[in-house]
């Protein structure tokens, strides 16, 4: 870190922001100096993205002050912030797919003659900027949709530079890049830093933080818990700062009686997502699967749901090869699925609790195509009681239940058809603590009754304290398998952020 009276580019003080019952930011502070690369790290839900959205003028804080280049900015809005020279490289590359490179770089700041765009000048300037900063030739006439992910990132950064950015905020910029692209991005960022630009770098990848950042602000539970220099503070110490230890005993004790393998995946691969994945889940076992955004973990689960198709590899269910071409086929094979976006895929909001529960197993309650209302109703009443779904009754619309109870309905749907394998995608996201505990208890019971459970999760505590075994995916490959004493959140975070490769394997 170079000292000598650095100007403060961004100073956020005492920021509070509340969403409903959640205190997303709790007296958070962030100070960024000019000419530095400043890392922002924290677990999911720590408040990183909220504080960045406050700076971007997207979320309005409840209290607190923001200064940009020493000037207090009162009413933050995207255009005001941009006028102060703060530019954002969003994670989801916000570019118009049908625009050319030249157009994308200069959109809303087009070089003009009267009302007319000076198209040739615009293209020439765009190409020159890209050449200067990235040392590559990119035809300014190519459409954005035909660029690779890395090239689109380049266009986004060039766009900010074309507008004389003084603060550049990059949110997970490397998630979809390969190593050499990451390297060239880093050398550009270092160069920008040396030119005096303040760079805010948000990443889950601790290696990158270590390699790139001059200073790191660690966030936890909506507040900044420390500002450290990665040169002096080892990565595992930074990770320790990120993890929240004081959580009550919320996980039910597990008594595992592991039986024969139920779900076996061999050589699973999908171009650009994941490679050579082998995993198995046994009877009575709860296996966690985790990985950062873009690691490929999500895609593995999507393939098991039949939402995507793998290019290679086989899936065996109870030693029989199966083909999962569609979600329909997955259901026919007896795989119970709990998608992450339960509003879109997990439950039908407009139907009643009863209808949702019997949806996946209508066969059982129908005769000659007609529903046998009596048996359906009594089964549903049993489920409501067993799962302690908080609903006035079976006829209540699922829309009117809380998130946790909607999730329980989604699980009940599969209980009613006695599945052997449960594949869950973030089962406890956006669910309150009480409902979480109930979901854990329920999964626990399913496992003890012999179900094999595979759950994708990014909640480190849930993975380390609830699952029997956790598999970690990093950049498309299984890099770690943790169980027993080796299974703790530090190891998981380290493995999924690439700081540690394949240690603590206990078979």
């Amino acid at each position: 870190m170079r000292t000598s009276e650095q100007r403060i580019a961004v100073s956020m003080k005492g920021i509070n922001k509340r969403f409903g019952s959640v205190q997303a930011l709790d007296d958070a502070n962030l100070d960024i100096a000019c000419g530095t690369i400043h890392g922002l790290v924290g677990q999911n839900g720590a408040g990183k993205s909220t504080i960045i959205k406050v700076l971007a003028g997207i979320n309005i804080p409840d209290s607190g002050t923001v200064e940009i280049m020493g000037k207090r900015v009162e009413r933050l809005s995207p255009s005001v912030v941009e006028r102060h020279g703060v530019h954002f490289i969003h994670q989801d590359r916000l570019l118009v797919p049908t625009a050319t490179v030249g157009e994308a770089v200069f959109l809303r700041h087009e070089p003009k003659f009267g009302p007319f765009i000076r198209r040739r000048l615009m293209d020439r300037q765009a190409a020159a900027l890209i050449k200067t900063y990235f040392d590559i030739e990119l035809d300014p006439g190519v459409l954005v949709q035909d660029l690779t992910t890395a090239q689109q990132k380049i266009v986004q950064i060039t766009r900010a530079l074309a507008q004389k950015a003084r603060v550049l905020v990059l949110d997970e910029p490397t998630a979809a890049l390969v190593k050499r692209e990451v390297d060239s991005l880093f050398s550009v960022l270092r160069r920008l830093r040396d030119e005096g630009i303040a760079v805010i770098f948000i990443s889950h990848y601790m290696q990158e933080i270590e390699a790139l950042c001059d200073t790191v602000t660690v966030m936890r539970n909506g507040t900044d818990v420390g500002v450290v220099s990665p040169g002096e503070t080892p990565v595992d110490k930074i990770i320790a700062m990120m993890i929240n230890r004081d959580v009550g005993e919320m996980f039910p004790a597990r008594q595992t009686k592991v039986g024969a393998p139920v779900l076996q995946i061999t050589g699973y691969g999908r171009a650009g997502s994941f490679n050579n994945i082998d995993l198995e889940v046994r009877r009575g076992e709860i296996v966690g699967l985790t990985g950062l955004l873009g690691s490929g973990a999500k895609e593995i689960v999507r393939c098991l749901f039949g939402l995507q198709q793998p290019d290679r590899g086989t899936v065996k269910l109870e030693n029989k090869l199966i083909n999962i071409g569609s979600p329909m086929q997955a259901v026919q094979h007896g795989i119970a699925m709990l998608p992450e976006d339960r509003r879109a895929h997990g439950v039908a909001l407009g139907l009643s609790v009863r209808e949702n529960v019997s949806l996946a197993s209508l066969g059982r309650y129908s005769q000659l195509g007609f529903m046998r209302r009596g048996s359906e109703r009594s089964a549903v009443t049993d489920f409501i009681r067993e799962l302690s779904i908080k609903t006035p009754g079976g006829e209540t619309l699922v829309r009117n239940l809380s998130g946790g109870n909607q999730q329980k309905v989604a699980i009940a749907k599969w209980l009613s058809c006695h599945s052997k394998v449960y594949v869950l995608d973030e089962p406890t996201v956006a669910v309150d603590v009480a409902a979480k505990v109930e979901i854990y208890t329920l999964l626990n019971r399913l496992a003890s009754e012999g179900a094999a459970i595979l759950m994708l999760s990014s909640d480190l505590l849930e993975l380390s304290d609830f699952c029997d075994r956790v598999l970690v995916v990093y950049r498309g490959e299984l890099v770690g398998e943790f169980s027993g004493d080796a299974l703790d959140s530090d190891h998981l975070l380290a493995a999924s952020s690439g700081a540690q490769r394949n240690e603590g394997v206990a078979a």
Binding site: P78, L107, T148
Partner: protein, 344 residues
Amino acid sequence: MTTVHSTYSQDEAALEAAPPRVTRRKAIGALAIRLGAVAAFAAILIYLAIAAPGFTLPGNLINIVEQSAILGVMAFGMSMVIIGGGSNVTEGGIDLSIAANMGVCAAVYAKLLMLGYSDAPALGATLMVGIAIGALNAYAVVGLGILPLLATLAVMNIAAGIELTVTQNTVLSVSSRFLDFLSTSSAFGISALAGSLILASIIMIALVHFTSFGLRLYAVGGHPEAARAAGISASRYVMFTYMFSGLCAAISSVLMVSRLSSSTPGSGEMLLSVLAAALLGTVFSRRFVPTIGGTLLSVLFIGCLANGFQLLNVSSYWVNGVQGALILLVVATTSFARKPESGQ
């Protein structure tokens, strides 16, 4: 295809190998569609030139351009709406009320002239009515958040109702000095009607393809969030397109009244042609978005088709069928070509 010329080692390029191949295949597919469309146009025109008696006579060709002026101005309005709303067929921009709006404007214009108003106030009122109906669309789509397909369908019915109320479903024959000027005057062998199409095309090309307004409008249609992130007020642009489309309906209603010397019921039937022209035009763009040049070509093509069918003594009802088939074909091929090949 462009590639990154990087000085970095190529060893980890494996993960990256997939996208360029996919995009190249897509680009070739897009090119094939464009060339195929041009070839099909050319083939049909050549067939008409050979088979339809008198098709290539200068008088007939000028006739086609004149007939196309009314359709063309409306198709420009429709193109504008599709550019700003995006070419997604189900949720994107579309103005189904444009032909019915033209009918209302024609009725209002003819009625005012019949009531003895002079050209200027009648014209002004007509344009205001067109823009007002466009504003109703804009409010329904942007203000109320109704899908354009549904919102403009509803407005179409409102407009059709107004037209019937004004005209009592009769032909309102009118004449005025301005109408005489439009229907009889000509310069350099180009009639006023054909001239209006040329003038409208030039203005539209300048506005849509050469100003920053046009670029921003395309951005709004291409990816509204990205446009908003760039500081563009997407909803204002979308509202503008519907009002502009209403203005186009009003202008073409004046051309219509001058050509027929009356307002006649049934102008709502032009909707299919307008839609076909605007959608057909998208195949001429490598981005599969409407362009003014593409729309103009399609308008002339549809004009040729209608004219050729007449000369061939084919029932004009067939033209409707052909236009409907063209819409299906264009929407199917462009959405197929646009579809990303990966699962996400």
